[in-house]
Assembly symmetry: D3
Homo-oligomer: 328 residues x 6
């Protein structure tokens, strides 16, 4: 595999001859006509194009978000900002594309699987029926293949290829700490961690663009997770667990958003569901704030973000830090 | 079948020798000991017992809500209120009881079935796959047997044997009117009406007492309905409908409470789901208000209820009416 | 009357020489100056103009929303969208304009009146005093004249000439179904339907533009309806109904929004007010969702709307449909 | 007029032979039967009776809240609390009762009228049409007679005979200060003060008990105030003010609760309505907190109230004070 | 001091040669490049510049919000709006600037101090320890110097140099009226008035631009006020007041926003804290509405604002007035 | 120290001769008089007394919540519940009482200190100024003495002697996991953990009864924590940290409740504050749910609690468990 073009480190007059993903297509108008600006990216980041004027319009005709294009051009600069001056742009066929090179990604999934499968091995001898339910999913290669690619959200926390797997392991790590302190059943909590978001495989698509599927819109990932469990259980003969156990697992899945107004049709009623809820929240919310703090565009020259950021409930975070005398 | 004792028409000195259902058991204390008051009912209504003193405590030992007892006694009066002075009370075996005689009931289900099955016959020729999904449930005698007994809530609207069936037909009747006005697909709306509450069969129990099951608590009737659909669809080969059609039905079920904070994990996004939501609300909310207006105890001598009634969001309804000159 | 120009069916190079209503005037700026875009419409729909440059500015000087103009021009195309290239534009005098040709309209009011007056005829013999109150308004030709033109909202549901009358009949149709199911007094419910929005005649204006009047802003249509009733009752001698009956009607009007936070100063306390509230909601909310689904611009090529739509509480509706095998 | 019995200063073994108002009748039960406790009051305060046992039941038969009774008895003591041991109790005829002696009262209304009429005299020369509208009410002796008796609420702030008049003057006093600071039209603000609660005359009754009338329930005092204005204006020929002026006054009345969820169908949109709203709030809310701080029963021996008090939004007030060294 | 240029009265072709404050710098783009528009102001108002094209870009390079510049130019007109055509622009050194000339200002602070210090003189003899606490701040010249400049908000009510002092005196004026009516301790209320916003000195900056400081963001002015009190008390030996008195003052400060969701960590629990809260609200909210009514740009030609104004909770105010016949 | 009486294991006819803490004193009335029931407890649990009749009233005269009494009596049984029949009860002097024996307690604080001080030792070399701030409190023996006794709430989570210390260590344990996952500064997070609740030492009292102090009511523990930090910093010369560092610590303390409506005057704006908030929530909320599940009285014979429990937001938890086949 050829080395990936490192977009953030491009400097004016650098030349580009690489496949890039079209992240956004914006049409703008001025008195004399209209022009188009593309946002092009790969796994390393993104860059905006220079305006494509009407005279070159044929070059971008039909190009849409999610397309992969072979781009030839040169980095220019306008008013202090880099822009990619495109001299040639060619749509690549869908088949030959490796989105892992072209979309934000959490990287190699192996270490996450190692952690996650390790938890399953712990559970196995202690709670065979619980392990059997998890195996319905996590022993299925097709499931694993999709699970290690799916993002954890389309535009919020862990919105990257593999983000769902990374988020799952983070939730598990936090949930173990909470479960220990709260005296909850660690195995059952971890099973909840592994099952709570499985419906995202049906709720999102990540083939060039992160979006909700129609089922994601109409049903929501919370219930899609419960339905996925129902389907796998219905297909297993004999049933791997009892009816009460099934209800406990359904509850873990359905209650993980914590409150009705956040999309859980029932609030947590067991200690394990409560632990899962807070661990999930802790992973998601702190990841969102960390993302917001990394978005240097939002800060300008100050320490306080200059605009409200919807991903963190319209707060304006503060990025000031101190060494607390460590260097003295 | 013997004639049912008409509890509301009992007068002081009337004698009772009938099977009654124990609706409530209240223990009260005074300085010299404790006494027990039973609330006893059948399909016609309910009556409170006179205090059962400690000296007679053996008579009520072990008697609990939901039990059916053979009662011998006489109606007395205390401070203007009737009370049943019990001279003998005997627990009846569970097997031989007809709860339809002992619990509030909507009466004969046949007219409701006639209406409902008529709707299915309309749908059949027009939308064969939709009719096929409905048939998975409504052609199943066991399902029908349970559906015509299940209440529509445990202590709110249509809390009676057969209440769910009656509510379903009411919602259908209203939904047809709304669908016509709104230009919605009448068949799909009616399918939503017939499916939206099927999970109540698993969420409630009605064997002497109306209560949530554990699954009802942990999962809720909204998602139980969606899971029931999933299970029947998973068991049908070939699938009676397409994946998109399944998502439309799932959505009708899940969105029928209208808002996340009311327990729907997704809000209505199709016109048919919107129609179903308002029809369901109209049936449930007006039934609750009608019930509140019939509760003469709440009014005393006035036209405005003397206390807030939780079933209607703590309102105090007004029962004043006028003939608007009709007699003149 | 000359045939109305069908705006939606205009194609490039078609010529226009017709009176049109100015629905919107937008000024935009670019480096070399500013330009103006008009949105022009009639009862069939609307079309945007091509930019009117500064050189032609005199042509649009003084033109404002609500004006009627005689337009000569030709349909052009820009970037795939039609635009009307105006060669001449002349303000028409206010007097000779028929807004029914120029604004969105529900069409002929006669069928709605037939339905509505039929209800009044039902009420008459059964409840003479109730019919007498309704007659204070509905036997008044001036009231009828205004009522059959007034829109039901300025930018939401039934925002069209005659929209209020259409909405009234829809609410009545739904309310009859709910009243029957709920055991409410059908006549009183219908009276509420006919009175609940009469204040909109004073709250809105529809002379070229749909807007709130100052009274609409300062008082609101809910209370304006109650005040209109008060005024007509004060002018009737002898009073057509009793004081209690008047309070029941006032309550129907005031409670029809259902909750304080939605603008009703009192919540529904009678069964008839509850029925009216849900019928009104069902008509308004489903109409809004149906409108949103018809707005093809919001969907692009997908089945889910690409933006949140404020008229339906920021939901993104789904327009996917199925034939459910009807063609097989 | 005979001297009023000072209830708060009664001491054990004092004898009572006075007319008192029945404020409450509570029936309590014990094993051997039931007993009744009356709360009896006059304008100075209230006292509870000793239990009236079944043997004396005839004495209290038919006695209800709001009755006036001639009581003969003696003050006893039970567990440290005073109680009135009744030896004779006789219902007094309705006609001969002076409720001003028997209900909580703000006392002589004259000083309040002086202040209020003074404001009207200020307005008169400056704004003749505004004064004319106020005169429709405040020059009417019947209106004044009722206004100086009506309470400002049934169980909240200023719940006393004359409370409405006192509250009106308080609001006016505060509103003048706010209007001056805010640059609002002082005359119009005062007119709003004088009109905003006139509907309470129809919303409350105070003939022995403070309660909502049916109209108070069904319509609410906010809209009753607007309707009262409408009626008086409809009866005045020629109209004392213009249509716009009428809308400004309607708005002052309707917006005075400030927000929809507090019962105002429109929020304040003029500076005068905003001033009125805050002045009304300041009078009502601080009066409620002052009442709560005076309720010594709520505090026990501590400085913080031992229970949440609903009249002040479930807060537990603090009654600690300091002399800040004034005595040093 | 030279006469201040009166910006609102400038007319086309007037010449400008004055120091002005840069209130805003907006970069806009068009096809051929970008241009910059400056908003320039002084204490009399503000004016926008004509576009500064790329060719003159050097002139505005490095110019930022809060800078003071010496401007030479001439007033032009574009599309009916005035714009300042800048021929020369020079950054002035920070030292020699008098912001009182360049920022919105309440004007001479002396009358406000007179009122405020008068209140302190009243308190002194009556409550020496209370006066001593106030003196910790108000006898400190540095504190006074900053207090008379600080705005009361950065973009809401009293956002002007000296706005905090003016607001303080307004709150005091209103609070005295409420305290009198409510029977609250007037001295303690006034002390609360003088202390409740002292943290704004640390929460805001006003050196050319009104903004939150980092401490203002991280701590908030409510708690900064309490911390300022803590620090001054910690530095006073012997303590000027008792521990209970300190808690009463802390409470006055912390509770002045009235509710948790408005940023008060505790709700008002004393009568004085309640009075302060309503007085503060009355001053702030009516000032915001008065400001909104003065913003003629928001109204166009109508009486109702054409857009929702966030400073007054998204209301659209009404500016219609009447003389109520005063001229007749 | 004598062995502690194990209250939960007492059986009928067991004799008691021990010091016990009066947890509650309830007076109840019946027709013939009143009686008193005491709830008596020690660190092992609690037991109710049999009724103390009027004839024995002298025995309980003056006994109040928080008193320690020497009790002689015998365990009886009434209606299946144990009750302590008291034959003698003597108030013990305040001095000689060891509350650690008489109140719920988390037991030996040493292991918690070991963990907590270990964290401080980690921080020391890495961030000397941060460690210096913590040392202002945690090197102070008096502070430690109080901190290891203070409960974490008066009636919610960790309401036990030493509960605050235990909760602190739990929060630290969870926070380390979240900080690691989120990439937050672990040292700063832990400093926040150690400081966030220090104000509870002034907000609560635990001398026989867990209650809010007056300062706790008037100021709240959140701000008391910030004030405590302010005071210690003001007393340290030279200041142990910079002004920015102080603001970061203030923010950690003030934002730990996460939202304004939960009592934080500012929401979390730094990553460390966000981590602290979720860790605090996770410890508190799961502890509350675990407590609720242990309250066997709430469940009766079922798996779902029979009443709503306010400590967990009125949920009714489910206590069903499964072994998931572990025994097979």
């Amino acid at each position: 595999m050829p080395r990936l073009l490192d977009l953030p480190s491009l400097r004016p007059s650098d030349r580009v001859q690489d496949p890039l993903l079209v992240r956004d297509v914006e049409e703008k108008s001025y008195a004399g006509g209209r022009f188009t600006i593309l946002t092009l990216g790969n796994a390393t980041g993104a860059i905006e194009s220079a305006p494509v004027w009407d005279s070159d319009r044929a070059m971008v005709e039909g190009i849409r978000q999610g397309h992969v294009v072979q781009v030839i051009g040169q980095v220019g600069q306008y008013n202090g900002r880099r822009q990619l001056e495109i001299s040639s742009l060619r749509l690549l066929p869908e088949g030959g594309v490796d989105f892992a090179q072209l979309l934000p990604s959490v990287g190699d999934p192996a270490p996450y699987w190692e952690k996650l499968d390790g938890w399953r091995r712990e559970i196995g001898p202690r709670k065979p029926r619980l392990a059997a339910v998890l195996a319905l999913f996590y022993d299925d290669d097709d499931f694993r293949h999709r699970y290690e690619r799916c993002p954890a959200s389309v535009a919020g926390h862990h919105a990257a290829l593999g983000g769902l797997l990374k988020h799952t392991v983070e939730v598990g790590f936090i949930a173990r700490a909470i479960a220990k302190v709260a005296g909850a059943d660690n195995d059952l909590v971890l099973a909840g961690v592994l099952l709570h978001d499985i419906g995202k495989l049906e709720a999102y698509r990540w083939d060039g663009v992160f979006e909700h599927t129609d089922a994601g819109h109409l049903v929501g990932h919370v219930v899609l997770s419960a339905l996925a469990l129902e389907r796998r259980l219905a297909g297993a003969d004999p049933p791997p667990c009892t009816a009460q156990e099934r209800d406990l697992l359904r509850h873990l899945i359905l209650a993980h958003h914590g409150r009705l107004e956040f999309g859980s049709p029932v609030p947590p009623l067991t200690l394990e569901a409560e632990v899962l809820h807070w661990a999930d929240n802790a992973s998601a919310k702190t990841a969102s704030l960390a993302d917001a703090l990394r978005d240097t565009d939002a800060f300008g020259e100050g320490l306080v973000a200059q605009r409200r950021i919807w991903q963190i409930e319209n707060r304006r975070p503060y990025r000031g830090v101190s060494d607390w005398g460590s260097a003295e």
